[in-house]
Point group: C2
Chain length 370, copies 2
Amino acid sequence: MKIACQKNELLNSVNIALKAVSSKSTMPILECIVIEVQNDTIKLISNDMEIGIETIVKGSIISNGSVAINAKVFSEIIRKLPDNEVNVETDEKFMTTITCEKAKFTIAGKSAEEFPMLPTIEKKEAIELSQFTLKEVIRQTVFSISDNESNKIMTGELFEINGNELRVVSLDGHRISIRKVELKNSYAPKKILVPGKTLQEVSKILSGEISDEVFIYYTDRHVLFVFDDTLVLSRLIEGEYYKIDQMLSGDYETKVKINKKEFLSCIDRATLLIKETEKKPIIVGIEDKKLELKINTSIGTMDEDIDIEKEGKDILIGFNPKFLIDALRVIDDEEVEIYLINPKAPCFIKDKEESYIYLILPVSFNAAQY
Amino acid sequence: MKIACQKNELLNSVNIALKAVSSKSTMPILECIVIEVQNDTIKLISNDMEIGIETIVKGSIISNGSVAINAKVFSEIIRKLPDNEVNVETDEKFMTTITCEKAKFTIAGKSAEEFPMLPTIEKKEAIELSQFTLKEVIRQTVFSISDNESNKIMTGELFEINGNELRVVSLDGHRISIRKVELKNSYAPKKILVPGKTLQEVSKILSGEISDEVFIYYTDRHVLFVFDDTLVLSRLIEGEYYKIDQMLSGDYETKVKINKKEFLSCIDRATLLIKETEKKPIIVGIEDKKLELKINTSIGTMDEDIDIEKEGKDILIGFNPKFLIDALRVIDDEEVEIYLINPKAPCFIKDKEESYIYLILPVSFNAAQY
C-alpha cells in the first residue's frame, strides 16, 4: 500500500476517524485506525464496537493494500508534519513509513485482517436534514441524558419520526428535554433510541452548515449517519422508552415571561455560593411583576430581583440551579415563558409552538431558612 | 467601611491580589484578601508569607475601615456581577454586603487585625526597567529553575546587577539560562536570589508594555517590585549562588548556524515518539552542511535532515529534547548559533553579543542503536 495526500486532508480525515477509537480497550487492535486502499478509494476505518466510522481521504493512490496502525501515534505524527505532501507506505510486514519533506517516520503496523470491520446494514429509507439542524438538536438535548450506565435507556435519546416531524427526547429522572424538527419529507412512524455518546461524537464531526445535508438510515438494531465523505454506524439501545406524553399536561397555575439572559446570569451568580458537596437549591419567588431569586448556603446569602410579566398565582419554588442553567443555555429566544403549577409539580419552559419543551422537577426546601 | 467601585476596576485589582493568596494554608486567614480603606485610598492586600501584594483600587470611599474576606468567594462574586457600580459594605461584625444593580450578596468576613500585614522595607536604591523587558527576561529564563524544594538555591533566579548591566541566571543541574539586560542607569554591584515563584507571579501581573516602568528595590532579605498601582514584596532566597562563570568557556570544536523554527519543529516531531516513562535522547549528527536528527524508541523511529552552516569538526551527540525545545522557544532570532566541543561536554546556544547564553548538558547514548 502506498498513498500520497496533502497533510491537512489526511489530518482532517484522521481526526474524524479518531472519534470511534477506543482509548482503553482490552483489544489492542481497537486502538488502531485502518487505512484501506482499494477501488480507487483511500478510506480510514475505526470501530470501538459501539460506534464505527468510515471516512474517505482525498489523495493519490500509488498502490492498493491496507494496514491497521496505532491511531494515537499516527494522528500525532500527521499533526506535527510540515504542511506539505505526506507519503504513507507499508511493506509486507506492515512496517509503515511516513515521509514528508525531509522527515521520515517508521512505525510498526498490523494486518487489517485482525480488525473488526463495520457490519453492512441494509440502507432503506433515510431521513434527511441539514447538518446545522442535527448539530443544534443534539446540543439542545444531549445535556439531559443520564451518564449512569445502570439504566441504559436513559443514556440514549429517543428519535421519534412521525410524518414530517422528528421529535428528539432525552431525560435523566429529574428533567426532560424535547425538541421538534420539521422534516422536508414525510416518513412512516418509527422510534429509535440512539446512544448519547454516538450523538456527541457525530455532533463533533458534523460541519454544522445549513447547506450541508445528513442522511440518517435506521434498522431495528443500527443507525447510520451519512454526510460529506463520512459514515458513522452505531448500535441502537434496545428497550422501550418512557411514555413521556402523559407527563406533558398543558395545565398551569402561574405563567411567567422573563428575559432569558438576565435570568441565566442571575442563577449563574447564585451558584457560586454552592459548594460541590452541598446540594443547596435556589429559591424562586414569583409575585406580580417581580421574580426574586434567593440562596442561603454556608458561604453566604444572595438575593436578586428580576422584572417579569406574570399571569396567575404567586409561588415560591426551589430548583437545582444546574437544571435551569442547562435548559436556558440552549434556548435561543430572548424571552422565555415558564409555566408552574405548585412547588411539588414539574415546571415547564416552552415556546408557544412547543418546538421546545424543557420539563424540570423542583426540589423541596425548608421555607424557614429563606 | 463602605466603598463604590466599577466592577472591572475592582475585578482587575482582585485578580492582582489573588496572586499572593494561599490556596491551601494551615492559616485560614491567609486565604483572605484584606480590603483596607484609609487615607483616601482603597487598597487590597494579600500575603502568603512568601509573597505579599498591595494594590490600589480606583473607586469612591463612603467610609473608612477594613475587612479580611475569603479571596476565592469574593473574586468569584465580583467576576459574576453585572458590568456596573459595585458597593462593598462591612458592618461592625464584619458581615460584608456586596451589591450591584439588583443583586445583593452577604458573606461573613473577619477582622483585618488577624491578617499578617506586609513588613515595611527601607526603599533605598531601585533599578528601573520597562515592564516589557522584565516580563521577557522572566519568560526567557524561568523555565530552567528547579522545582525541587530540597535545593532551595536552584528554585530561584540570580539577579546580578553590575554597573548598567543586569544579568539574570537560572539553572537546574542540567542546563543554565542567562540573559543580559542593559539598564538606563548605573548601580553598585549587587547579587540577589529571587524565588522563581515570585517571578512567575510578578510576570503574570506585569502589563508587558514597553512604556510602563517597573522599579525593583532590594535589601539583604527582601525584593520589592513597584509598578502601576501595585507593589509585590518577596523574601529573597538565602545562600550563595553557583559560580557559573567558570563553566562558560568560549572554546568550541564545532559551530553550527541553523534556522531556529526548522530545528524546533523537527525536535518537536521527534518527541512524539517518546513515551513519558521512557527517557530516550534525540541524536544530533552534524556533518558539513547537514544536521541529521534521529530517534529510536519502542514506538518507532524517525530521522530528518536540516540544512546548516558548519565550522569545525563533525560530531554525533545526544540531548534531552525538552531542554533544546525550552531554550529554542524563548530565542527570538531567526537563526541561532550552536557551539559544541565533544559528546560529553555542554553545548552552548548563544548570540554573538552573549545577550543570551543557553548551556545544555548532553546525554550519553548507545551509538549502536542509531
